[in-house]
């Protein structure tokens, strides 16, 4: 497999942003109540990710290293605002369904994470491919979760009623606890059957791509420092 294909595929399986890297949990849990919402969220995030990765990669030699995180955030916020306006204009129903989670793409760890881990080290083409792979991986993970939650929780699939399940749906799955539960089950399934074992790292700040950006130390280290200072 050549490098381009590898870059694309790794985001979908080996480094799936949601199920393996466990990034962007907030929108995953919140918007996976129905398949349509999940696909909308996935598409919106993919567009932002693609644009931000391309621009950040193109500007990687221009942006001074010290202020790169604020620069990234401004760029990302700009793209999020554009997507927000487009969705509002062309898909008002989706805008209502996603609500607060649409502007919150700004603080989605996946986007800042890819900027920090990939786009500022690689050329424009590779970064675009990486963004597409990650975006598709994010959308697929959301789609899986939303399918489970909508089919069993609501008895429908993308709004189409399913004969037996429509009368016997488990409505708790579409509510908040169901989100946590299905997400837990999916990650357990990935752990069990996945060929790619997730790294043995903690999912706390150690795994957070922003760990670098908050004072160059992870919060565990900072906690230790704080304990020493006491």
């Amino acid at each position: 497999m050549n490098k381009t294909a590898q870059n694309f595929v790794k985001g979908i399986i080996k480094e799936n942003p949601v199920l393996v890297l466990v990034l962007g949990t907030c929108p995953t849990l919140a918007t996976s109540t129905s398949v349509i919402n999940a696909l909308g969220m996935g598409a919106a995030a993919t567009v932002v990710l693609l644009c931000s990765n391309i621009v950040i990669s193109a500007l990687r030699k221009v942006i001074p290293d010290k202020v790169r995180i604020p620069c990234y955030i401004v760029l990302i916020a700009g793209f999020v605002t554009m997507v927000q306006m487009l969705v509002k204009a062309f898909a008002p129903d989706l805008d209502k369904a996603l609500g607060i989670y649409l502007p919150l793409i700004v603080v989605n760890c996946i986007i800042l994470g890819r900027a920090e881990m990939f786009a500022n080290k690689n050329n424009v083409f590779d970064s675009a491919i990486d963004a597409l792979g990650m975006g598709v991986g994010f959308t697929l993970a959301l789609f899986c979760m939303a399918s489970i939650r909508e089919v069993f929780g609501n008895g429908t699939f993308a709004g189409i009623e399913i004969p037996v399940l429509i009368d016997n749906h488990i409505s708790i799955l579409t509510m908040a606890p169901g989100g946590f539960f299905v997400f837990g089950l999916l990650i357990a399934a990935v752990n069990k059957f996945g060929k790619y074992k997730p790294k043995k790292k903690d999912f706390g700040c150690e795994g957070c791509p922003q760990a670098e950006s908050c004072g160059k130390t992870s919060c565990e280290k900072q906690e230790k420092e704080a304990a020493v200072n006491d």
């Binding site: 604020p70 605002t81 989100g179 837990g184 990650i187 700040c205 957070c208 922003q210 704080a226």
Partner: protein, 197 residues
């Protein structure tokens, strides 16, 4: 007055940021391992939420809205919050070192926390007045605090138990979060019955 109490209680219990709105999941899963770090983190969140609302609400009402710049909301808010957090950290370090010692390590982590940006945007979306917005931020912060403290207790119990191999780590934590969140479902409808409008 009743409205303020309703806003406060519903922000803490019914629309709990972590357990029913799924905002701020990263710190909820990452920093809830020990009680003292959970407390420190949530106190810092309450503090920053109040400061952020106090700063962003006037900006939206008196700067962006009159000039038809409402669409700049997301960019302006995230920048204001990021700058504010840095400023607060510097001020605390200089003038209130004791508070900086207990909250300082958590402050940089909060800059890009979706709960903080979420509360400032929701305050505008809901059309609250300034006082209501502040009360809502306080309630949201307290709700975050409650969820963090409860969950750190739940997690310390899980630590010692025997868990199937594939459920170790995140899956069992999420399952526990599901059960914790289930308990908060019990609050829905309470406010309507306590304070019939």
């Amino acid at each position: 007055m009743t409205k303020l109490i309703v806003i406060l209680l519903s922000a803490v219990f019914i629309n709990n940021y972590v357990l029913s709105r799924f905002l701020g999941i990263c710190p909820f899963l990452g920093v809830s391992k020990k009680l003292d770090s959970a407390t420190g983190m949530s106190l810092a969140v309450i503090f920053v939420m109040l400061m952020a609302t106090a700063a962003t609400y006037p900006i939206q009402k008196y700067l962006l809205d009159p000039n038809g710049l409402g669409y700049l909301q997301t960019i302006v808010f995230i920048l204001v919050i990021a700058a504010l957090v840095q400023l607060v950290e510097i001020v605390l370090k200089r003038y209130v070192p004791s508070l900086h010692k207990s909250l300082g390590v958590y402050l940089p982590l909060i800059t890009t926390n979706c709960a903080v940006l979420g509360v400032t945007i929701l305050n505008i979306d809901e059309g609250y007045t300034f006082v209501e917005a502040m009360v809502n931020s306080l309630g949201s912060g307290l709700g975050f605090f409650l969820a963090m403290v409860m969950f750190s207790g739940v997690r310390s119990t899980i630590e010692g138990s025997d868990i199937p191999e594939s459920f170790k780590g995140l899956p069992v934590t999420l399952t526990a979060a599901a059960i914790t969140s289930l308990s908060f479902l019990g609050f829905s409808g309470v406010i309507e019955n306590l304070f019939p409008m």
